[in-house]
Symmetry: C2
Subunit: 234 residues, 2 copies
């Protein structure tokens, strides 16, 4: 009897990571999903993550509370306004202030620790180099460097020659391709959450970079957008 392969899947509760989880499940992995409570403004995504994990049939969904507020420096954790209504040229121009210092490095480090304990060889993360909002830690060269480091960091790699793979199935997809992929795999995108600045009722603002990329993705995919948006203030 063979056992299914195990994977750790970073799950934010957003559209991308829900799609990654569906892809990992479709490949036959026993999935262990990992979310982080880092004092983010958009805390509803933690609840979204739980529901998505349950629906996808993960073996274990874990939320680790981490202290990113302690290091500050981002509009997603500190008291800085989230930029709204930027066009694509503005989004591409620089790394936005919603960038959280070293966030993916920290997330992947915890995933690496859990993978070692679980004896999992694969870590899935929904980074994307196309519609990637300019975050440096979403680029392929970062992921490759992390993987190389990970394979020198752990007992699993050094003693047991159990190589860690950082799997980034979305990295070359645009948002429309991601949405088509997930839709084909049965992802219910109504459960997913992307907005950086939702209303108290968890309606998406429709104006932040994340909302704009998401909305355009559904349009380009020709798929109905199930997101509940707040009424346009204008």
């Amino acid at each position: 009897m063979t056992f299914p392969k195990k994977a750790v899947v970073l799950l934010s509760g957003g559209l991308d990571s829900a799609t990654v989880l569906a892809l990992a499940r479709a490949e036959g992995y026993d999935c262990h999903s990992l979310s982080f409570d880092y004092g983010q403004r958009h805390r509803y995504e933690l609840e979204a993550g739980r529901i998505i994990a349950e629906r996808a049939g993960v073996v274990w969904h874990r939320v680790i509370r981490i202290d990113l507020n302690a290091v500050g420096g981002s509009a997603l954790t500190a008291d800085i306004a989230v930029p709204k209504s930027r066009n694509e040229t503005e989004m591409a121009a620089d790394i936005p202030i919603t960038y959280v210092p070293a966030r993916n490095t920290i997330f992947l480090s915890y995933a690496l620790a859990w993978a070692e304990v679980l004896e999992a060889e694969d870590i899935f993360i929904g980074v994307n180099a196309v519609d990637y909002s300019g975050y440096p830690d979403c680029r392929p060269e970062f992921i490759e460097a992390f993987e190389k480091m990970a394979n020198l960091a752990t007992r699993a790699a050094v003693e047991d020659h159990r190589k860690i793979h950082i799997r980034t199935p979305l990295i070359q997809m645009n948002k429309a391709e991601i949405i088509r992929t997930g839709t084909r795999l049965g992802v219910d995108y109504a459960l997913t959450h992307s907005c950086y600045d939702p209303t108290p009722e968890n309606l998406a603002c429709g104006q932040c970079d994340s909302c704009r990329l998401r909305r355009k993705g559904f349009e380009a995919a020709g798929i109905h957008d199930p997101t509940r948006y707040a009424p346009d203030p204008s």
Copy 2:
């Protein structure tokens, strides 16, 4: 007017990291020390870290609470006996169960985040490849891979070309050399804490790998060992 360079120094409260902090101060850095409360058995080291940081005149000492228990798998955080009275051949034979999965990866990731916010370019860590207890994440090749990854991970590196250096001044020293160096710089080793399994009164057990390496280091350096050891049970 020039400002002193800033550094983030990982400070465990042990002998090695206290020496590293003294070295960074001697190089003229404004030091920002970082300790982690990860549910370790030897929690007294957190208090030791605070006192060492204060005596060394750091700008800011910070303790971040992290959830390594959540991933389990180590005698330092889980309910597994700490090995005692091993000789050097036994210590060198394999990675001990006191190994915490991906610990230095996680610690360095937080240090990287804080360095970015502080605009610091140097992160000091007291890893050691000589008397290193067999941890894979204390080897030079791991540190080099982490540094490479770090310089692809952050806005500071990508946008501002502010390169991060992982500084490991102890990496090629044996314990006696470390103790001589720190003694020359005025480190009060009576404040530092190494034991993996201290008594409730914070006396060092004298038998775990860490105590044995420490005791031998003082002997080899010809320097009085100020450690308060528990009476020998035999």
